[in-house]
């Protein structure tokens, strides 16, 4: 039995001649909140649609709970709930009727709709036409629709779109509760790292259809260890001196050298060392890339 709720193996997808997804190998562990990150147009929604079999994937490239998707379409869909792009709501029906209709399609008791309405805080608006809902209310209804069948795996495409700060926090808490208390797996896409950072246990960063980073949130943090940035009058000599003194060189170019930050005292020692060797130190400072910059760095590289 596979440990991944979602696994794609070298997934490729084309719209005509345009490659939208390139050699994508997603691995979403069971019980995780997987933040699927990328700028607009990176291929996030396309990937989610492939995972839902809305777009036909080539055989043996997509596995849901270890089962090939094309061959197990209905069985796989039974275990998934989704919210893709704007929530799909029948605007001429009320919020409650939308949920009841879904209950009918899924063959679950209609009473579930009231439960869902209270979960997303729409009980008071239950009998209002969904077309008259605000953007945030529609989004909540969309989430209720995704959750109603109590699926093991949730695919949420930018679920906090249009929600106010309170709503965003509620959704965040809901996602954490679903995974920790109910053992669900959630794949949540976003173009904002800050939004994912607080909830996700795992992160995948995609740009132009290619997966640029995949790992735990800790591994992503490790990529952004603080460094000491040094500027001197002779960079080559400085690199040499620092290297023999045992400092880890992270990056070096014409103007600056970066070494791993080990503490304030160590930083002072490096400074002294350079000066004792007759170099002029123009500047020396500690730098830490925040995740947002790291994300921009990763996505702008290719």
């Amino acid at each position: 039995m596979s440990n991944f709720a979602i696994e794609t193996v070298g997934l490729n997808y084309h719209f005509g001649a345009q490659t939208v997804v390139k050699d994508l190998s997603l691995q979403v562990p069971k019980g995780s909140i997987y933040g699927f990150l990328g700028p607009n147009g990176a291929g996030k929604t396309t990937t989610i649609k492939i995972l839902l079999n809305l777009l036909k994937s080539p055989a043996d490239q997509v596995f849901i709970f270890g089962k090939e998707l094309n061959a197990n379409r209905i069985a796989s869909l039974k275990r998934m709930g989704s919210l893709v792009e704007q929530p799909a709501i029948y605007t001429h029906l009320t919020g409650k009727e939308n949920l009841i209709n879904r209950c009918t399609l899924l063959g679950i008791p209609k009473s579930k709709s009231a439960e869902m309405l209270s979960l997303v805080g729409l009980t008071e608006a239950a009998n209002k036409k969904a077309g008259k809902y605000s953007l945030g209310m529609k989004q909540r209804l969309g989430i209720a629709l995704a959750l109603i069948a109590d699926p093991e795996l949730l695919l949420l495409d930018e679920p906090t779109n249009g929600l106010d700060p309170n709503g965003i926090i509620e959704i965040r808490n809901l996602m954490i509760e679903l995974t920790t208390k109910h053992g669900k797996t959630i794949l949540v896409s976003s173009h904002l790292l800050a939004e994912i950072e607080r909830t996700a246990t795992h992160v995948g960063i995609i740009n132009k259809g290619e997966l640029l980073f995949q790992g735990t949130i800790g591994e992503l943090h490790d990529l952004s260890k603080p460094v000491v940035k040094i500027e001197t009058n002779d960079q080559a000599a400085a690199a040499n001196i620092l290297g023999t003194a045992g400092a880890e060189l992270v990056q070096q170019d014409e103007n600056t050298i970066s070494v791993t930050f080990k503490g304030k005292e160590d930083m002072g020692n490096l400074n002294t060392l350079l000066i004792q060797n007759g170099l002029v130190v123009y500047s020396i400072n500690k730098e830490r890339k925040d995740l947002e910059n790291l994300f921009l760095d990763i996505t702008s590289k290719n």
Partner: protein
């Protein structure tokens, strides 16, 4: 698959019970039959002067409804309904949700098609029932009418069955057009032009008019006596235009599924 079909059909009813397409199936027969009955009631003196025997009176009475309905309103209702059943998903961008439910794709499609067919059936069934009941109601109100002299059940059932079967071709074509395009104008424009063309060719008695599905409802209402001594009810239901309509319906139904299953859902 049968369970999927039943569930989807159930959902179609639930979704559309607040839409015009559904209510039109009920309002149209009530309105038209009501108006015709009112007309007969209001002009009872004139009608009585003609001294129609039962059969002719029924023919006049039901012909008023069938004529308006069969020639003009039915094709447009069919176009509108086929559009509406699909548009409910286009408009709300819900095709994608529909196809992420753990249901058989064919069942979802077939349920939609079947739902459209059922609406058409309900509409025509109500027309027949209301025509007959309003006829007997008129008889009760104006005892001098001769509605009691002839039982129109067989005759009208045959006519409405023909009309229903002859409309399936148009329904299927419009259904697929509405599936393909989300906008109102393309299927309606094509349907409008085709309906006019169909009526013209049918009325010009063009030899091959029966091959055009849009001519079939008009053609289906023509009565051809089968023999000199034959009763008026003896005309065949499955005439050539009915076969054309049915074949067209089956072919379009298959094409529609092919389009839907090959198409990626955006």
């Amino acid at each position: 698959m049968v369970r999927s079909l039943f569930i989807s059909l159930n959902s179609e009813f639930y979704k559309s019970r607040k839409t015009l397409a559904f209510w039109a199936a009920i309002i149209l027969p009530v309105l038209i039959c009501g108006l015709v009955a009112l007309g007969f009631y209001g002009n009872a003196d004139k009608v009585l002067k003609m001294n129609y025997p039962g059969l002719i009176l029924w023919a006049q009475f039901s012909g008023a409804t069938l004529g308006v309905m069969g020639m003009l309103i039915l094709p447009f209702y069919v176009m509108f309904m086929a559009f509406s059943v699909n548009n409910i998903e286009h408009k709300n961008d819900t095709w994608k949700t529909l196809f992420t439910q753990p249901l058989n794709k064919f069942s979802i499609y077939a349920a939609k098609y079947l739902y459209a067919v059922m609406l058409l059936f309900i509409c025509l069934f109500l027309f027949e029932v209301l025509t007959i009941t309003s006829g007997y109601l008129l008889q009760a109100l104006v005892p001098k009418f001769t509605f009691n002299d002839y039982n129109p059940l067989v005759l009208l059932t045959k006519f409405y069955s023909k009309l229903f079967l002859a409309s399936l071709g148009i329904l299927s074509i419009q259904f697929v057009l509405s599936l393909l395009w989300s906008d109102f104008l393309k299927p309606m424009g094509i349907g409008f032009v085709a309906t006019i063309a169909g009526m013209i060719t049918a009325n010009l008695n063009w030899k091959y008019a029966y091959l055009i599905p849009y001519s079939d409802p008009t053609l289906a209402l023509r009565v051809t006596r089968t023999g000199k001594n034959a009763k008026i009810e003896d005309f065949p239901v499955f005439s050539q235009e009915i076969w054309v309509s049915l074949i067209c319906a089956v072919v379009m139904f298959i094409i529609g599924y092919f389009i839907l299953s090959k198409r990626n859902i955006k």
